[in-house]
């Protein structure tokens, strides 16, 4: 069974916290992904991004994603995901994903799957703020159930 730690809040992200959360002497591979706010998007200079989130649902969906992604892995698995809310300046971290597993291939695979699932399913929204003072909500993926 995987040990899973998720959080969605306005606290500054800590790579040390991620390291501690997935530390496991039974695992031979650790993978860390850190997503940061890019200073440009589609030809516009980005000052920062405001992240809005439905926190309770986002944490549940995140947990479900981690459970699902790790279900195909038979050995030890530890997963840590922390997602920022609020304003994040360009260059700062908006998300950290850390995975440890017995073998490196599983850790790489799970980390990649988790970030792709997050982008498609977790109720988080971005309002991009530009250096010219304008801002706009970014488009995303529909999670409506039909």
């Amino acid at each position: 069974m995987a040990r899973i730690t998720v959080s969605v809040n306005s606290q500054k992200l800590s790579i040390q916290e991620a390291v501690s959360a997935i530390s496991d002497s039974g695992c031979g591979g650790q993978v860390f992904f850190c997503g940061t706010v890019r200073s440009h998007n589609k030809g516009r200079q980005v000052e920062g991004i405001f992240y809005d989130a439905h926190t309770s649902l986002a944490e549940k969906v995140l947990s479900d994603i981690c459970e699902s992604v790790s279900s195909g892995c038979s050995g030890a698995v530890n997963i840590y995901v922390a997602h920022r809310t609020g304003y994040v300046a360009a260059g700062d971290a908006s998300i950290i994903i850390a995975v440890s597993s017995e073998h490196r291939a599983d850790a790489f695979k799970m980390a990649r799957e988790i970030i792709e699932e997050i982008k498609a399913k977790v109720p988080v929204w971005k309002r991009e703020h530009y250096t010219d003072g304008q801002s706009r909500w970014l488009e995303g993926s529909s999670i409506r159930e039909f």
Partner: protein, 86 residues
């Protein structure tokens, strides 16, 4: 019955309190709420948001609701536009 609808993402611009109250008939379901919300958006000149609503989910605190899900007067629901985390 009165339902509190919490607003997220692009919908949060609609109200400083990030929520609106909608009056629905007893026994109303999510599809009824969606219809009433769409009327409210169009009536108040938010036609772009009314279009965005078609691609948006309706949820409680911990799950996405299907269109046929019944609602109760004490319910707090959220309208969730297309997501883009990460």
């Amino acid at each position: 019955m009165e339902i509190k609808v919490e607003l997220f993402g692009a919908f949060s611009d609609l109200s400083d309190s990030r929520a609106i109250m909608l009056e629905l008939k007893e026994g109303a379901c999510v599809a009824d709420l969606r219809s009433e919300l769409k009327n409210w958006l169009n009536h108040n000149g938010h036609t772009e948001k009314a279009t965005l609503l078609d691609a948006s989910a309706i949820s409680t605190a911990d799950k996405i609701l299907s269109e046929s899900e019944p609602l109760a007067g004490s319910d707090r629901v959220a309208v969730l536009p297309p997501v883009c985390g990460g």
